[in-house]
Each structure stands twice: as structure tokens, then as C-alpha cells.
């Protein structure tokens, strides 16, 4: 151990001496390696940044990697039981979605069926379809709707109202889906429930409110009365259709459980990975109340990381392969310099052997020189990469907000160091072996 440490230190000290003694040679070696290492750093930084951005988007809609999700049907008293079970559990959030209309009473919403803003702005939403019997349909993201057929008592002409999906939640869903706050505030789960439900819009819904003067009156079928919601703010939830978020308890002030069960889509539970006990308790309670589906309930982990990795892995390897090729050209450069200098340094190597340096240490010294050169190159390339990324973040961030928060990914730094070391190893190995084979007796003959 002590011997190995001594040899390592000797190799590093002597290697450093060699580098300092041949500054020009070192500089040329660094230049020949620089582009290759930089390419590796940039590819790694770009793909890692892209991966983080994609992961961020995926997490917005699907939830953070490892989050457990479970669907509970609303049969029987299942809804009440589930809500009661997750009550006071900070590591579990139950959500349910329903359709809601905000705006003038008794008018058809501008975006019937909860169509996105762009579809409405284009005119008639989706494509028109004609049925063989002559009836016409408009198709939006939530399905197709007959035109000219009196399906409800609402008048045909749209009024100042918009339709959206309302998500009611028992706790802060952002611990699982990191929504980005765009303006105003997020729901406050700590305070007492307010009688006027407080809602937060998503970006898509906010577009409607920005364009149309919609009175703040909210209708949900089955509600005891129309409510006057208080809009707290806007979040980016990564969803392309209008949505609003509300506290479950504030909504329940207006909506009896019976209606929640009928109008909602069932209950989605999002749980911290360790919160499996909740699932057990819930199953037991549901089974006890005679619900047969209880045993089939299952929590699925969210695999956002894996999904994103799959999408990007191939592209990353293709680009890394190209960067590796550039790196190889650089390796050929330092190999060339290295082999040339072995010839030049025959006497030095023979002398070192004469004073007791072993063959392996001598090879180590030569390798240490190229490895240190590789590390210096990695340092230069990483520094350049950081500056470049900083620049990109500062200037392109104004155009694409996703790019604004790009910090230098540590993976790119590691990749740069590894690339530098591999290049140093490849470029130094053959010269090192040659140096170790120099016969002392022949050189040191007066």
C-alpha cells in the first residue's frame, strides 16, 4: 500500500515535471484533444439538459418518478371511505376531475366540451364530420358533439362562459407534480376552508380569461347553487386543455358527496413511494364494507424517468459516437507526439531506469504525462462548456423559458473528465510501453 502510494506520487510528480518542462508540447497535445473532449462535454450537457427538460414536462403531467398512483372507483361508499382514509395523510393526495362551466349563466360555453383555446380561436374547434344520416358533428379533444341537435336546454349561440375540467384535491398535488407557478398564488391547504371556493387556473384556461370577459360564476351540475370562485393564480401544469384546481373540502361545501360521485371521474390517489400502508388500510376498509373490487386495487409506480430515458438514449449514443470519433483524431495527435518524444527522451528514460526506476513506474510516468494532459484538456473543455451554457441560458432563455434555468449538468463534467482520461490512456499507452523497453546498457555506454 505504502509502496503503491509512493509509486503513484512519484509518477505524478515526475509526470508533472515533464509537462512543465515541455509546455509547448503540452499545449499542442491539449489543442489536438480539445475539440474531441469538448464535443463529448457538449453532447452530454445538451442531452442531459434535454433529459431534464423532458423529465420536468413528464413529471408535470405524470408525476415524479416512483410516485405510486391508484384509481378507486366511486361505487357504493368507496369515495367517502377513501377520502376519510387519506384525510390527515400528508404523503397521500386524492384528486377527482369533473366538468365545470365558469361565466354567464344559461349560455353555451365558448369552448363547448372543454376545447383548447387554439381550437376555439381557429373558429369551429375540430373538424366537422358528417354522419351517414346527415347529422353533423364537431370534434374537439374531449369528443364529438352534434351540431344542430337540441341535446340540452342551452341555447345554440355561445355566450360568455368557458368550460373546463375542475380538479379537486385533498392536499397539495405539487409534491408529486411540480407545477410551475405562472402568476398569483397556489392553493393554500393550511388555512381553513373558505366558503367561496378558491381556484387556480392552468395556462390554457388563463388564455380564455385573458381574452374573454367572463363573469366569475361557476356551475357544476348537481351543485347546490352556483358558486363565485376566487381565482388565486395561474400555473403551468403541462396540460393543453383548460383546467382549474380547487381544494376538495371547499368544493364539498357546494357539492354533496352524492354528486361528486356521479359527476367525477373516480378518485385518483397519488402516494409517496413509502406510503403503501394507506393502500392496505383502504383495501381492508373497502373490503369490510362489502366492495368486491377492493382486492383488485393496485398501486402502480410512475416510471417517468424510464420513459424519458428510453426516448433520449439512442440520440445520445449517436452523438456521443460522433464526438468519440473527433476524440480519436485527437488521440492520434498526442500518440504521434508521444511516440516522437520517446525517441527524443531515450537517454532520460535509460537514466531513470539506471537510478532504480522500475519498468512499470517508468511506463507510469509516461502515462501520467498524457493522463494529466487529458485532465488539463478536460478542464479547458468543461470551462468552455460552462461558459457556452451560461451564454445560451442568458440569451436563448429570453426566447425559450425552458432554456433559462439550464445549469451545467454534473454528468457533462464527469463525461469530460472520463473522455480526457481515456484519451490520455490511449495516447500514452504505446509510448509508455516503448519507454519501458529501452535497454539501459546500450544507452548508458560511454
Amino acid at each position: 500500500m505504502i509502496r503503491l502510494k509512493g509509486r503513484l506520487r512519484s509518477a505524478l510528480i515526475i509526470g508533472l515535471q515533464g509537462i512543465r518542462a515541455r509546455k509547448l508540447r503540452t499545449l499542442l497535445s491539449i489543442m489536438s484533444l480539445f475539440l474531441g473532449v469538448l464535443a463529448v462535454v457538449v453532447v452530454q450537457a445538451a442531452s442531459e439538459t434535454a433529459r431534464r427538460a423532458a423529465l420536468g414536462e413528464t413529471e408535470l403531467t405524470m408525476g415524479k418518478d416512483g410516485t405510486l398512483q391508484m384509481y378507486v372507483p366511486t361505487e357504493g361508499k368507496a369515495l367517502e371511505t377513501a377520502l376519510d382514509t387519506v384525510k390527515d395523510r400528508p404523503d397521500v393526495v386524492a384528486t377527482t376531475d369533473m366538468s365545470a362551466i365558469i361565466g354567464e349563466p344559461k349560455v353555451t360555453p365558448i369552448n363547448r366540451g372543454g376545447m383548447p383555446f387554439a381550437a376555439v380561436a381557429e373558429g369551429q374547434g375540430g373538424p366537422r364530420l358528417t354522419r351517414p344520416d346527415g347529422g353533423e358533428f364537431i370534434c374537439g379533444p374531449r369528443g364529438c358533439y352534434p351540431i344542430g341537435q337540441k341535446e340540452s336546454s342551452l341555447p345554440e349561440t355561445p355566450g360568455q362562459a368557458i368550460e373546463l375540467r375542475l380538479s379537486a384535491m385533498t392536499g397539495d398535488v405539487r409534491q408529486f407534480k411540480p407545477f410551475r407557478q405562472q402568476s398569483g398564488q397556489w392553493l393554500d391547504f393550511a388555512s381553513a376552508a373558505s366558503l367561496a371556493p378558491r381556484i387556480v387556473l392552468n395556462k390554457e384556461a388563463a388564455k380564455f380569461f385573458g381574452t374573454y370577459a367572463v363573469p366569475a360564476e361557476m356551475r357544476i351540475s348537481g351543485a347546490t347553487a352556483n358558486m363565485t370562485p376566487q381565482i388565486l393564480g395561474v400555473v403551468d401544469d403541462g396540460i393543453g386543455e383548460p383546467r382549474a384546481y380547487v381544494r376538495m373540502d371547499e368544493l364539498q361545501n357546494w357539492l354533496p358527496a352524492e354528486q361528486l360521485r356521479q359527476g367525477g371521474t373516480g378518485l385518483q390517489l397519488l402516494m409517496e413511494p413509502h406510503a403503501t400502508d394507506v393502500m392496505q388500510i383502504l383495501k381492508t376498509r373497502l373490503a369490510a364494507s362489502g366492495l368486491e373490487f377492493a382486492q383488485q386495487l393496485r398501486a402502480e409506480p410512475v416510471d417517468s424517468r424510464e420513459r424519458v430515458a428510453d426516448q433520449l438514449a439512442l440520440i445520445r449514443w449517436v452523438f456521443l459516437g460522433m464526438a468519440g470519433l473527433v476524440l480519436l483524431i485527437g488521440v492520434a495527435g498526442i500518440l504521434n507526439v508521444g511516440l516522437a518524444t520517446v525517441g527524443e527522451r531515450v537517454e532520460e528514460f535509460a537514466l531513470r531506469r539506471a537510478v532504480g526506476t522500475s519498468r512499470s513506474l517508468l511506463a507510469g510516468i509516461v502515462l501520467a504525462e498524457t493522463l494529466l494532459t487529458g485532465l488539463l484538456t478536460a478542464g479547458a473543455a468543461i470551462g468552455t462548456g460552462m461558459l457556452a451554457l451560461n451564454y445560451v441560458g442568458r440569451y436563448l432563455g429570453k426566447v425559450h423559458p425552458v432554456l433559462a434555468t439550464t445549469e451545467f449538468p454534473w454528468q457533462a463534467g464527469v463525461a469530460g473528465v472520463v473522455a480526457g482520461l481515456i484519451a490520455g490512456l490511449l495516447g500514452g499507452l504505446i509510448p509508455a510501453l516503448r519507454a519501458a523497453r529501452i535497454p539501459i546498457a546500450t544507452v548508458m555506454r560511454a
Partner: protein
């Protein structure tokens, strides 16, 4: 007393040429031996065998009581570092290192590790011993031939070897500087170091304890 080095019947051929045909040599500690011989007679070849740069074809080589005739290279490197000091006609100093770093080279070779402070002390002591401590920070190109050779001798002495091997160390120096270098080498033997000096200079040879001549591949008394 056990001799430091005992060679008997050493043979060596290089690329089919029989250079040494049966060399017998005994060196005691503190003993200085001069080896004379025509150019091409094999003096450097002999030194390279004693100094473990190379191995003999036949015969036996004892270092103290240890038979090192067929020593594997790894052990040989350790022995070169611990037991031998070398001085050559060409000084073989590294141009990019200072005098002190050139001397330290014999310490920083993977054979045992000395803390920086101890290393410095040893280097300065060795430079002092050859009288050029004040030139420690100079690089070889700024030193005279005699000074460079003394740096080389300090490098040979810094490990406190038991055996000094000098191959025409004065060959590149004028008479006066040459005498000085021989003085320094001879001084080392007073502290118990063995010395084998290859030289063409009779005067230098005569200052040694014994003078031998290498001819026809064998060593014989020259006086």
C-alpha cells in the same frame, strides 16, 4: 571480511561477439579500483554487468553474500537504487530540471518514499559533499562541465550507495577539473564505499588502491 562484490568467471557476448570471456573481480568496501583497457575491450560492458543494467551469460556474481547472477528485473531496479551509484563520461543530466532536482531524481524513483523535507536535506547534503551546494537552483545548461559532473556525482551519492561505478568520468573534462572529480570520488571511498573507475588516464588510475587491465575479455593486474 566478506567482500562487497565478487565476480568469478563472468562471460558476456553481445550479438555473437564474445566480449568478456571469464572475468574475476573482488571489491571490498572502501576499496578503489581502476580498470584500464583499449577502446572496445569491454570496460563499459563490465560496468553494466556490475551495475545490473544487464545480466552475464555465465559465471557468478555475489553482492555481499547474496547471489545475484540471475536477478529478475524488478529486484535489479531496487538494487540499483539502493546499492549502486553511477557516473558516466556524458553526465546524463536532465536539462529541464535544476541541479537539486537532478539529484533528487535518484530519490523519487518509486523505491521508498521520503517526505519532502528529508529529501531536501539529503539532496543538499549530497550537493555539499561535492562542493556545489550554492548551485542547487541552477539548471545544467548554466553549469560548467566540471560542475555538471559534480551534480552527477551528487546524484550517485545521494542514496549513500555501497558501490560507485564510474565510466570515464573525466573523459569530457580538462585535466584540472578531472583531478577534482577524481578527488571527490576518492573521498567517497573513505566512508566505506567501493569504487570501480574506468579510465584512460594513468595518473588517475595510479591514485586508486588497485589498477587492473581488461584485455582479451579478462581482467589482470596492470602494475
Amino acid at each position: 571480511m566478506i567482500p562487497l562484490v565478487r565476480l568469478s568467471g563472468i562471460t558476456k557476448s553481445l550479438q555473437g561477439n564474445q566480449i568478456l570471456t571469464g572475468v574475476d573481480l573482488t571489491v571490498h568496501s572502501g576499496e578503489a579500483i581502476a580498470v584500464l583497457g583499449r577502446s572496445g575491450s569491454g570496460k563499459s560492458t563490465l560496468l553494466s554487468l556490475i551495475g545490473l543494467f544487464d545480466r552475464p551469460d555465465g559465471g557468478s556474481y555475489l553482492l555481499g553474500e547474496r547471489n545475484i547472477t540471475r536477478l529478475p528485473e524488478r529486484r535489479a531496479a531496487a538494487l540499483r537504487s539502493a546499492e549502486f551509484g553511477f557516473v558516466f563520461q556524458r553526465f546524463f543530466l536532465l536539462k529541464h530540471l535544476t541541479a537539486a532536482q537532478n539529484v533528487a531524481m535518484a530519490l523519487v524513483n518509486g523505491q521508498g518514499w521520503l517526505p519532502r523535507r528529508k529529501r531536501r536535506a539529503k539532496v543538499m547534503a549530497a550537493l555539499d559533499r561535492v562542493g556545489i551546494a550554492h548551485l542547487a537552483k541552477h539548471r545544467p545548461p548554466r553549469l560548467s562541465g566540471g560542475e555538471q559532473q559534480r551534480v552527477a556525482i551528487a546524484r550517485a551519492l545521494v542514496r549513500e550507495p555501497r558501490m560507485l561505478l564510474a565510466d570515464e568520468p573525466t573523459g569530457a573534462l580538462d585535466t584540472e577539473t578531472g583531478n577534482l572529480v577524481i578527488d571527490v570520488l576518492h573521498e567517497a571511498t573513505k566512508e566505506g564505499c567501493g569504487l570501480v573507475l574506468v579510465t584512460h588516464d594513468w595518473e588517475h588510475a595510479n591514485r586508486m588502491d588497485r589498477v587492473l587491465r581488461l584485455s582479451e575479455g579478462q581482467l589482470g593486474e596492470a602494475r
